[in-house]
């Protein structure tokens, strides 16, 4: 099972695992990725509203895509976590909000994502969490509901009682804070 007691590994570490999967079809390296990421992808999918059994099925599908498409992965272009996030997002959209799928490029496009600055591309969970904890509660809440629950700005406004304009400005301020901490120069 996943060794969640261990310190979180860096983006570079996961990228090196992916490289070995791509080059040598190295199962041991793949299972390191599996043990770390599958419980997290599973938690993310349940957060989006996928039922427990369905979330496990989709998690397996996402991780198997990582195995099958490892040769498309380019560590210069995206962190493993970013790649998996995109795959997992597309999977839950396909299951729960199929209409939205039409607005996204197909999976094959995963290979050709734009180059992002490494600082930001490898933003790891610890650093993001540190920034999240410095945010005012309403900003953190809007980030959480957007990213973990897939709620639209309007739905967040309805749930929290915040005016729509405040939902949007809270999210903008949170993104600004992320950008200041990670030095992204593109957004």
């Amino acid at each position: 099972m996943a060794e969640d007691g261990t310190a979180q590994q860096s983006g570079a570490y996961w990228a090196s695992c992916m490289q070995r999967v791509a080059d040598d079809r190295d199962k041991a390296s793949f299972m390191l990725l599996y043990d770390y990421f599958s419980p997290r992808v599973n938690a993310y999918l349940v957060g989006q509203g996928v039922d427990a059994a369905g979330a496990e099925d989709l998690t397996q599908e996402a991780l198997l895509a990582l195995w099958n498409k490892a040769h498309l992965y380019n560590p210069e272009k995206a962190a493993v976590s970013t790649w998996l996030f995109r795959v997992a997002r597309n999977l839950w959209i396909d299951k729960l909000r199929k209409q939205r799928g039409a607005a996204y490029e197909s999976d094959e496009g995963l290979a050709e994502v734009a180059v992002v600055s490494n600082d930001y591309g490898e933003a790891d969970g610890d650093r993001l969490q540190a920034v999240l904890e410095t945010l005012p509660r309403n900003q953190a809440q809007v980030v959480y509901k957007s990213y973990y629950e897939g709620k639209s700005h309007s739905e967040i406004a309805q749930e929290t009682g915040m005016p729509l304009g405040s939902v949007k400005s809270s999210l903008r301020l949170a993104i600004k804070a992320f950008r200041q901490h990670f030095g992204g120069d593109v957004v």
Partner: protein, 221 residues
């Protein structure tokens, strides 16, 4: 290729990357991305934020049999040929062509072949059924002056052909209007050709519709 000067706001990009925008809004953003390399990179950054948050979520272990099942699946998995990696180059939509993301919603290739419906002389529209929210194409006659109006925070507009100018500047094909209620403007379509826009509205909140708002000054709704 004309330069794009007007882009979605950060919260719109984040919502798209998170999968949180209703289909009508996500499609307007997706079509803008087909024009705009800059915003494609912004989406990747927003997805990197999603990846960081994914690393950080409280883990939820899978059932005991799943790990063995994955190991077994690795042996069965077909090798995906490298040919799949060949990039499906995102062609920027040619003027007059309907963006590829909208093709499944319409049955024709060209704007001029669409079954436009007249709202008032010089202004036509075509509702598109995207299944979530309100999505429509708007076709504004060359030189036409729109009524003064404001936008709501849950409404997005993308210019697909032609252009218009307003208090914020000139909007050409690919430009994106992500305006909130603080902006009151009066767009005037360029005089040399019709201006075709894609508009998305999230109708989760009980607002009056898009056309009603545009029509109000004309017919006193």
């Amino acid at each position: 290729m004309s330069r794009i000067h007007h882009h979605p706001e950060d919260d719109t990009i984040a919502g798209y990357a998170a999968g949180a925008l209703p289909a009508a809004l996500a499609l307007v953003v997706g079509c803008h991305l087909q024009f705009c390399e800059h915003c494609r990179q912004r989406v990747v950054q927003a997805e990197a934020t999603g990846g960081g948050l994914l690393s950080n979520v409280a883990p939820r272990p899978l059932g005991a049999s799943r790990r063995e099942a994955m190991l077994a699946a690795l042996d069965d998995a077909p090798l995906v040929s490298a040919a799949v990696a060949a990039s499906s180059n995102r062609a920027q939509p040619a003027s007059g062509d309907i963006p590829s993301l909208l093709r499944p919603l319409v049955s024709v290739d060209n704007f001029s072949d669409l079954p436009w419906k007249t709202i008032v002389p010089g202004m036509r529209h075509l509702p598109l059924d995207c299944g979530e929210g309100t999505l429509r194409l708007l076709n504004i006659g060359a030189g036409m002056k729109m009524p003064v109006h404001t936008h709501r925070g849950n409404e997005l507009t993308l210019v697909l052909q032609g252009g218009y100018s307003d208090e914020l500047g000139q909007f050409n094909a690919g430009d994106f209007a992500d305006l909130d209620g603080s902006v009151e403007h009066q767009p005037v379509a360029d005089s040399d050709r019709n201006c075709i826009c894609l508009g998305g509205l999230d109708d989760k909140l009980q607002f009056r519709g898009w056309v009603a708002k545009f029509m109000q000054p004309f017919v006193g709704l």
